[in-house]
């Protein structure tokens, strides 16, 4: 049995409160392969950001573990780059200097010129040049700032890139442009990405796989949705892909109704009904029989094999669909 590049095992986060212990999420298990782009979607409060912070090493889980390339993640490290929703650029440094900060931290032995050249290369990649890179973040638009943050994260060439709703604060037009740039850069660099988003269309455009979380408290990753749409993808043409709306409907249906139905609090009375272990794998684009718009036809909620157990996934999916 081969292990995925990033392995999350039975992760849980609990907080003590006045009325007892609050479980934000529990039993969260999934894997991310090298070069894979995985998005995670869920309602506010399901603990997405906490999961990302645990992956980053900024937060410690109450239970479970995270393995990256077989090694346990303990504390933050340069091999995992992060882009925060609020950019988190240093306002006293110029755009270039912000990127250089990361590069100099990653390769302390490099000369200043080399650090500068390397940083400039990545700023060019996100379209920041012609003197704009010398501006302070306060003199840049929100989109520009997020580009700088993305450049800083890519410039340290991390093994895993973590994006915490990076486009949440941007207007739709800017978001689209930067999504395109991110698609292009990821295609060039084969970057492994784990991204939080609230935007279903964004997830379909960018991701290879979308993890769906049930509502908190006691949230968990209920489904792992394959986005079987060929790359390279384009924002304009992807909507014409026959699988696009099947995936989209499946996701929206999950967010609207099933995320609450499957949530821990609603099944608390009958723990036996609770799905345990890794998330159910679904592939709405290829799996014709599954019409998520009709909940009555939705496949029974049975535990599935781990998604990366080495079995033929397609065959298993067909088996699930025929049941």
């Amino acid at each position: 049995m081969t292990h995925p590049f990033l392995e999350i095992k039975a992760l849980a986060k609990r907080f003590p409160t006045k009325s007892g212990e609050l479980t934000v999420f529990e039993d969260v298990s999934f894997g991310v392969e090298r070069g894979e782009f995985v998005c995670i979607i869920g309602h506010s409060g399901c603990g997405k950001s906490t999961i990302l912070n645990v992956l980053a090493g900024l937060d410690a889980p109450s239970a479970g573990e995270v393995l990256m390339a077989g090694k346990e993640v303990r504390g933050p490290a340069l091999e995992r780059g992060i882009v925060f929703q609020n950019y988190s650029l240093f306002p006293w440094r110029s755009a270039l200097s912000n990127v250089m900060f990361g590069v100099a931290a990653r390769w302390p032995g490099w000369s200043r010129d080399r650090v500068r050249d390397h940083s400039q290369k990545y700023l060019h990649m996100v379209g920041l040049k012609d003197g704009i890179e010398h501006r302070k973040p306060s003199q840049l638009s929100g989109g520009m700032r997020q580009r700088v943050a993305i450049a800083r994260a890519f410039a340290i060439e991390p093994k895993l890139l973590l994006l915490d709703e990076p486009f949440g604060a941007l207007d739709a037009l800017t978001r689209g442009t930067i999504q395109d740039e991110l698609l292009k850069i990821c295609a060039e660099t084969h970057q492994t990405v784990f991204m939080i988003t609230h935007d279903v269309d964004e997830a379909i455009l960018l991701a290879d796989r979308i993890l769906l979380m049930t509502n908190g408290p006691q949230a968990r990753v209920a489904e792992s949705v394959q986005v079987s749409i060929e790359r390279p993808r384009e924002r304009a043409s992807i909507v014409h892909d026959p699988g696009y709306y099947r995936i989209r409907t499946h996701l929206v249906d999950f967010l609207v109704s099933r995320s609450a139905e499957l949530s821990g609090s609603s099944t608390a009375d009958s723990p036996g009904a609770r799905h345990q272990g890794p998330p159910r794998v679904v592939d709405p684009a290829r799996d014709r029989t599954q019409t998520a718009s009709d909940p009555a036809e939705a496949p029974p909620k049975v535990p599935a094999d781990p998604p990366h157990a080495g079995t033929d996934e397609r065959a298993r999916l067909r088996a699930v669909a025929m049941r």
Binding site: I82, F84, F90, P91, W92, F101, P137, S138
Partner: protein
């Protein structure tokens, strides 16, 4: 619009100054010297029977003569205004920088560690409201040197705003920026100098600006107590000489130097201020 506002403000300022000085000048007529001085008056060097507030013209006259030769030294009780101000500045800056040397690292410690904040807060709260001059007898007894004692008084009065502002600024550094430092595997000292110091610098400089203002207020009183040199001693000495012209002139000089100190720190604060 802004420019015309500035000009209007200048015009109002100048008119106020002229009106004030004019009224002052008119209300303090020069002594009538038509009759010849009596023998008694000649013996007294032509001094008036009673002291009166000098007119602005006299003060300007003294200012011109003092400032045209500010560094003369004609004995312990007759030194130029420049020498006196230099002594005061020397004491203020020495005490101020010694305070900064202690307050900034300690403020960092308190700001970064909530435990240290809780542990040291009672001491700070008790020591902070003590008038710096109340330390003077103790300082004189322990240090046994009036010069060093006045520097100590400056030190003790300028340490608190710097300490509190540094702790406040450091504690208020956005967690995101600290997280960026953590994810970039920065060593603690690197984090302190590359992230926390620049982030807290505007608050720290504001504390330093408050400190230097207080130090300049306190040095005048301290020098009145310990005597010898300095602008505070100068004011008291001229009061003893009943030379009110010199007293008013030195009051003005205290204000101008204090303003220059404040402007310097304000300029330094602007250098490190960033826009979010």
């Amino acid at each position: 619009m802004l420019k015309s506002d500035t000009w209007r403000a200048v015009i109002v300022s100048v008119s106020l100054l002229v009106a004030f000085l004019g009224l002052w000048q008119l209300s303090t007529p020069a002594p009538q010297a038509e009759e010849a001085m009596s023998e008694y008056e000649r013996l007294m060097g032509g001094a008036d029977q009673e002291a009166r507030v000098p007119s602005p013209a006299e003060i300007i006259g003294l200012a011109v003569s003092e400032l045209s030769n500010p560094f003369y030294d004609a004995g312990p009780n007759d030194k130029g205004i420049g020498i006196q101000l230099a002594w005061s500045l020397y004491r203020v800056l020495t005490g101020f920088f010694l305070a900064a040397l202690i307050a900034l690292p300690l403020g960092f410690l308190i700001g970064m560690s909530p435990m240290m904040y809780k542990a040291l807060n009672p001491f700070i709260q008790v020591l902070k409201p003590i008038s710096p001059l109340a330390w003077m007898p103790l300082a004189l007894f322990i240090i046994k040197d009036s010069e060093t004692s006045s520097i100590f008084v400056i030190f003790i009065c300028s340490i608190w705003p710097m300490l509190i502002n540094t702790a406040f600024g450091v504690a208020g550094v956005r967690q995101d920026w600290v997280n960026v430092a953590r994810t970039h595997e920065l060593a603690p000292m690197q984090t302190a100098f590359q992230v926390i110091l620049p982030a807290a610098a505007p608050t720290i400089l504001t504390g330093m600006r408050i400190s230097i203002g207080i130090a300049w207020l306190v040095i005048v009183a301290a020098e009145m107590l310990v005597g010898g040199t300095g602008i505070g001693y100068y004011v008291w000495n001229e009061w003893n000489n009943l030379d009110l012209t010199a007293v008013i002139f030195s009051i003005l000089m205290i204000g101008i130097v204090g303003m220059l100190l404040d402007l310097t720190l304000a300029w330094a604060t602007r250098l490190v201020t960033y826009q979010e």
